[in-house]
Amino acid sequence: MQIYNDYKEHADFLTVYVREAHPTDEWQMKSNVKDDVCYAQPKTLEQRMAIANDFTKRFKYPLPFGVDDMANAADLAYSAWPERLYIIDEHGYIAYRGGMGPFNYKPDEARAWLAGRYGEVKHPEKTEAAPAPKKS
């Protein structure tokens, strides 16, 4: 996540894992089948934790991470599902409120808020090295 790499020296980041958007037992997307991201909607916190751990391990996800409880307290407080961005300022007030994802999920708006506060920051994108070809 480029915005994190660019602004982690200035702001804290926290990813909050909320209920699944496209589980196999609800509205599954073909793209998730293709990408082998197939999970049923968790019924227990342990199931939710397992998926969150799969996610962070699969993508080597670097952001600090928290999992919403089964009462969906964080989701309900922030109307967060399926995905949404907020910025809370250092005094505890909402400074940026993103729109409802996926159609109005706009990281560029959050980036613009951070750029307005700290100036434009753009580190080179980190790309993983391609695997070495197998020797025959």
């Binding site: 996540m1 407080a77 910025i87 809370i88 250092e90 909402i94």
Partner: protein
């Protein structure tokens, strides 16, 4: 009167078809539109939070499965970018 009712029903049906066509376009297909209406729309809320509001708190569980912490614990000193989402 019957003619008026007929027209009203016709217009309502037309609007319904248009709404479903629009939803199908957004979702990707008529089947996805049905799933969207059943599974997604009930959970999507614009919410009432606005810029300047006190940020709500909620307790989260860390990935170790043991540590619990509050969102507001992370807001001292610097802005906090909150990224909500799931795997799928």
């Amino acid at each position: 009167m019957k003619r008026f009712l007929k027209w009203t029903l016709g217009v309502m049906l037309g609007l319904l078809v248009l709404a479903f066509a629009g939803l199908s376009y957004l979702a990707g297909s008529p089947k996805d539109a049905l799933y969207m209406a059943r599974y997604a729309l009930p959970h999507m809320h614009r919410g009432t939070l606005k810029v300047g509001d006190d940020a709500p708190d909620a307790r989260l569980l860390a990935l170790d499965g043991q540590t619990r912490f509050h969102i507001r614990e992370r807001t001292a000193g610097r802005p906090l970018v909150l990224v909500f989402g799931s795997f799928t």
